[in-house]
Amino acid sequence: MSKTVQESAMQEFFAECDEIIQRLTQVLTSMEENNLSQDAMDALYRDVHTLKGSAQLFGFVGIGTISHALESCLEPVRQGRMKLDPILVDLVLSCLDLISFILQNPHTDLEKDSELQMKMGILIPKLVDRATAKFEAGKTLLHESLPSDEGKPVAEIHLIEELPEPRAEKEALPQQSSIHPGLAESVALVEEPKLAPVTSPSARKNTMEKPQEDHSSSESNSIRVQVSLLDKLMNLVGEMVLTRNQVLQYARLNEDNEFFKLTQRLDLVTSELQDNVMRTRMQPIGSIFSKFQRVVRDLCRDLNKNIELVVAGADTELDKSLIEAIKDPLTHIVRNSCDHGIEIPSVRKSLGKNEQGKLSLKAYHEGGQMIIEIHDDGGGLDPARIRDKAIQKRVISAEKAATLTDAQAQELIFMPGFSTAEQVSSVSGRGVGMDVVKTNISKIGGVVELESVPKQYTKIRLRIPLTLAIVPAMIVSSAGESFAIPQVKLQELLRVDLDEGGKIEKLQGQSVYRLRDQLLPLVDCNEVMGNSSPADRRVFNIVVLNSATHSYGLVVDEIRDTADIVVKPLPTFLKKAEMFSGATIMGDGSVALIVDTEGMYDHALGARRDAHANKNDTKESANTNNDSSVTTTEYLLVRIKTETFAVPLVLVHRLEEFDRQSFDHSSGELLVKYRGGLLPLIEVQELLNIPNEDGSTKGNVCPVVVISKNNRAYGLAVDEIIDITQTENDIVAHIRPKDGLLGTVIAPSGVILTVIDTYAIINKAIGVEIEGNKKVMKKVKVLLAEDTMFFVKRIVKVLTDAGLEVTHAPDGQAAFQTLQDMGPNYFGLIVSDIEMPKMNGYQFAMKVKSEEQFKNIPMIALTTKFREVDQEKGFQSGFDRYLEKLQSDELIDTINGIMGVKR
């Protein structure tokens, strides 16, 4: 029992500390220009004192020590003997940061956390120095004994004595930093030399006298209540609302007039109770706005900008949990505005703007929602630049970018992948972009709106629901169970009756619906939830939902009703599926799950991917322990005249369609304009001498398979692009030997497909023998580890053409066995795939490099896994080079390079 008392006291302590720190930070950051009144200063001092007292009471020695030092250094300020200058303010703020840190990690062992120790070891002497220096300069003596003397070099005191302030500060501090290497950032900012000069002691007096609003307004009319208690109250009220609804319903059926009157009264009281209980959870948004004063102030210093933060509507109230949820997105937007939005003073001046940038934060209620506007008068968003960047980042294709309106282009900043590494400055590039902002806001049922005029301003508007606890929702049913969908996610409801001319189409096996000429992907609620859907469905009830990045249609069995629902959390272990954001209790007392629209969509996609992966898994032998050794090969099926051909999908760069009218003939070559260049086209039919049996003429639209080879794109003109198929079977060569064909492969359906040798076709078409003309300078024996026969054939051919002798092993394990069998001096080079059964490429490389006798054999990874992380992993495992598959020239060049250097 006593334990819980202690715990709750501890909670109180934490809450109090947070409050004090917040108050102190606010006072300190808002004072800067206009100095503090004596009252405010006293209040500040009192707060620090309280902090010290309670910290020591609860055994937080670290906080105690810091606040003691703070107190000592503020003491002369309070007595009017010293001025609270920016350097000191920074120092105090750093100390508050440190205290916050300790509070957030209460279990950190102060003795053992050397970083913390070091930070304290730096800050505290500084505070002390600060006070001492001031005293020296002000010709006053310090009577109070100062607590800490660690790490304070004697020479420094000397310096301070000799030099007049404020220079003493600036010169003494860097010296100190060299004594404590590896300064933490909170400390480092104190040393920034560009600070306002400290006023002379004589100027101090009059600055003290400005009257100031009293920040420590008494709050004796309030009590502190645990949030959990409020949550409980909220739950109970929600319950009561539901019960009231049931009673009202019952009363309507009842003839008893007296009872009806009573229920009316119950209705009123309950509504009022609900309103008031909701208000208990409300907090003024000012609690986070005030933090931005500090954020903007720090940013201004870091970025050498001059920004004024104007806050309006700080007393607008919002549910506490929502305030927490919008804190980070809002911080990100503010940082963005300061960093990318508002220009540096010189630029602003040249643009004829006020040198001081203005960032305004405005909060207000509108239509049952909270609106937060972040408005900066900076450079705005340049649609052209955004388009370029989006194309460059491959967020969007060039063709698509051209069709966007300027406003749409500006919206691109919310696309995932838009803001990435390039803009990593310490300020806004933290690996989170505006897409995360948008996702997070939409998670709490909010919306982000963007408005910007280039060179003038950017305005971001967040629409946030006032509370999360009660939300309007649409009740739908699927497989006999009810589900609630929050109204904010709902766009519209559709009813598609197949018998009345409605049409649901299949696109690559997935259902889609044409909604006002836009394709709406459909997700079947039953399927996602693992139930079977009625096969003969004739009427489709579709709920059109907008998630953060896309809209989709959820097919449900029945659309029932709208209802205000009380959101109840789900246990964390059920949230893993992420298809449901919570549960609610329906009017009839049953429990319904609340659909997380984003989660549901992701899940639908994930389920498809899983099904896909499972297909691959079945083939894998049980003893493989590597992550994903896919042995299947995917082929693109194309039709040329009457025959179906397969093109290995790994070689396909893109699929395009061109109008035959746009083809150009240039000295016998067929060309088409493509992405700002010319794409050479190859008529596969002519090249393979496929007879035009049916005598059909070519259609106007020509599907083209774009193949990238040696960094050049080539287009293979075909008659139709049919589908993609997957097979575990290897290519059987030479059943039908023909130039330009690799062989045949059996598709899962049993159909025999002829596989096109795209590179051979291209070589033949352009009439240049590219392959084979490169020779390896040094003849060595190569060990090739590769599981896919298709690639084995290609690579062996490239290597033997180049004059190398190749031994092939089907996986890493076999390759290592071969290596051991042949001894260390047999192979001069190892070329390995990454994804292989039994032992993958990474494991293989590590094993080879760990053996003394083999570790000098150079290793090249040849893979289609070409992301940066994969490469990094490859190098870590011991590969010397990491190459993309089927870039034969590059491979030979690399081998030449490696052999020349290494041996």
Binding site: P569, I585, G589, H603
Partner: protein
């Protein structure tokens, strides 16, 4: 001599107990709302006077054979730091006060499917009581 109190119940005739302090109440079978795609042992969600409890089928969790006759679906509602848990059991026994001296760690022979949730056993005159550790259960679920 110190003692402990356990709320006891049976699943497939096996005898289990949980610390009585953690048990909020016992209810008869209640309507369940199934959670799609959740593991089999998550029987569903229960409306417990406005609070939502997650029903965990101990039979499924312990991988015991299903016995149609015994399926009564009685709920032992346990308080945890997070959600309310409803352990779905077959039969409710008395609250027993047992002495610490009767305690023994779980024997190695107990199937790991069950043993991973047990904190130990108490030897009673006629029977042996297996103690379910709610903490371990929560850890497993999470």
């Amino acid at each position: 001599m110190s003692t402990n109190q356990f709320s006891t119940f049976r699943v497939n005739d096996r005898f289990y107990g949980v610390n009585v302090k953690l048990v909020q109440e016992i209810t008869q079978a209640m309507p369940l709302t199934r959670v799609p795609l959740a593991p089999e042992y998550v029987s569903g969600l229960i409306n417990l006077r406005g609070q939502i409890a997650t029903a965990i089928g101990l039979r499924e969790l312990f991988q015991l054979a299903s016995d149609e006759e015994k399926l009564k679906g009685i709920n032992v509602i346990c308080r945890t730091e997070g959600p309310l848990l409803a352990l779905v059991v077959d039969e409710i026994g008395d609250v027993l006060e047992v002495e610490d001296t009767a305690f023994e760690p779980t024997p190695d022979t107990v199937a790991p499917e069950v043993a991973q949730f047990m904190s130990g056993v108490y030897k009673l005159p006629n029977e042996i009581l297996s103690i379910i550790d709610i903490q371990k259960l929560i850890q497993f679920l999470n």
